[in-house]
């Protein structure tokens, strides 16, 4: 697999999907980046410096139907994987559908509690959440707020401005006028060179509307972000890896922790990929992209749980590729 990222920006995105999510490492470019860092340091008060982020998505705690009988096993495995990283990420971003909804509010609350218990095992303490429709669409986000706080917010980290957007809690795939107005005012104080990372649940562009892979006012959101030179959008919802560049923005979807959806370009129907008991964590893995001078090297690691010597074990199968 070969993919290149836009290098014009001072911000280099290094993405590693963790089956379940994505490890993203941010480095200022070498020479140009150092200059930009100094400039940004003057403008924002905090110069960008290298750091990493892990994105987790679509854990669907409470889901127990076909095609995946594993329940929270993949989520728990992802937590173990992240805790085992030699260099711990600065931040963990969860991009929605953390729980699976229930008509019974008390049952849904239990699922939120279970989610928090598993997420609480992470060594990284800085964790941020946005809701998916399964978390917030039926009650307008009430339970989500009770357990995880506001559904949209922003913060700065090492010179990067992070924006959490809620595009689910009205029930519709929309951000809405009020949040758009908030976004405009939130961004107003930042220079155009400030790197922006948006994390949200649904794609902010028309990826596949007939599969509900879109946000109805996504164009309005991206118009607000258009003046900024380095915009990264992290999202979930589609249960598969997807990388799209539109204008100045790179959009990256993370895999889910429950089951995978097929490629919309080739599949006739939006049906989950079948569960493979011999490789229950298939489609879950780690993608690590690192800089090697003029080229970006990529390592894909697929996590596969399988029988080893008659006992259950976990093996990491390593696939390697390279980006140019």
């Amino acid at each position: 697999m070969s993919r290149s990222f836009d290098r014009r920006s001072f911000l280099r995105l290094s993405a590693a999907s963790i089956g379940t999510g994505a490890l993203l490492q941010f480095f200022p470019f070498t020479a140009h980046g150092q200059t930009m860092s100094k400039l940004l340091g003057k403008r924002t008060g905090e110069a960008p410096s290298p750091f990493s982020v892990v994105q987790l998505s679509d854990t669907h705690v409470g889901f127990n139907g076909p095609p995946d009988p594993l329940g929270t096993a993949a989520f728990e495995r992802a937590v173990e994987t992240i805790n085992g990283l030699s260099s711990q990420p600065d931040l963990i971003l969860f991009t929605g559908d953390l729980t699976h909804d229930s008509e019974d509010s008390a049952e849904h609350a239990k699922r939120f509690a279970k989610f928090k218990e598993i997420a609480g095992r992470l060594r990284v303490q800085k964790r941020f959440f946005v809701p998916g429709e399964h978390d917030a669409a039926l009650d307008g986000g009430t339970l989500f707020r009770e357990h995880l706080g506001e559904t949209h917010r922003s913060f700065d980290h090492k010179g990067v401005h992070f924006v959490a957007l809620d595009n689910v809690s009205t029930g519709r795939p929309a951000v809405g006028k009020a949040q758009l107005a908030w976004l405009k005012s939130d961004l107003a104080r930042y220079s155009r060179e400030t790197p922006i990372v948006v994390f949200t649940h649904r794609p902010l562009f028309d990826l596949k509307p007939e599969w509900e892979w879109f946000t109805s006012d996504g164009d309005a959101v991206m118009n607000v972000l258009a003046p900024y030179e380095a915009v990264t959008v992290l999202y979930g919802h589609i249960h598969r890896e997807q990388h799209t560049t539109l204008g100045n923005a790179q959009h990256h979807a993370a895999r889910s922790l429950i089951f995978a959806f097929p490629d919309p370009a080739t599949a006739a129907e939006k049906k989950p990929l079948p569960f493979d008991a011999s490789q229950p964590f298939r489609n879950l893995g780690i993608r690590r992209i690192t800089d090697s001078g003029a080229r970006l090297a990529i390592d894909d690691i697929e996590l596969t749980k399988r029988e080893i010597s008659g006992a259950n074990g976990v093996a990491q199968l390593l696939r390697q590729g390279e980006l140019s």
Binding site: G171, R172, P209, E210
Partner: protein, 112 residues
């Protein structure tokens, strides 16, 4: 006075002749997790009003290629008038999350 009355009558007749025919109204009922009818056939070039009635919960009706993007709640129908330009079969979905079977809430528009 008589002349004036005739003139007004003529104007009224002319206006009536110029008034476009009202679009055919197609009522679609939405409830968890189905539309009724679940297939609607329209003709290319014919203006039609699509009216969505939600009977139990808020529901959406989305067919982007036809310009249909409705959101109805109980007691608050939503509607749009369209004139289909090209023939084809178009899948429609509910895009207002309505519960566990939401992903299967679909119907089809056929433009002949």
């Amino acid at each position: 006075m008589k002349r004036c009355l005739c003139f007004l009558l003529l104007v009224a007749c002319f206006a009536s002749a110029q008034e476009p025919a009202k679009p055919r109204v197609i009522e679609i009922s939405a409830k968890r997790f189905e539309f009724a009818p679940n297939v609607v056939t329209v003709r290319r070039g014919e203006p039609v009003t699509i009216r969505l009635n939600a009977t139990d919960h808020a529901h959406g009706l989305l067919v982007k290629p036809l310009g249909i993007d409705l959101d109805a709640d109980r007691g608050s129908p939503d509607e749009v008038t369209i004139t289909p330009k090209a023939p084809g079969t178009f899948p429609a979905i509910c895009d207002h999350y309505c519960g566990m079977g939401h992903g299967n809430m679909k119907m089809t528009f056929v433009v002949e």
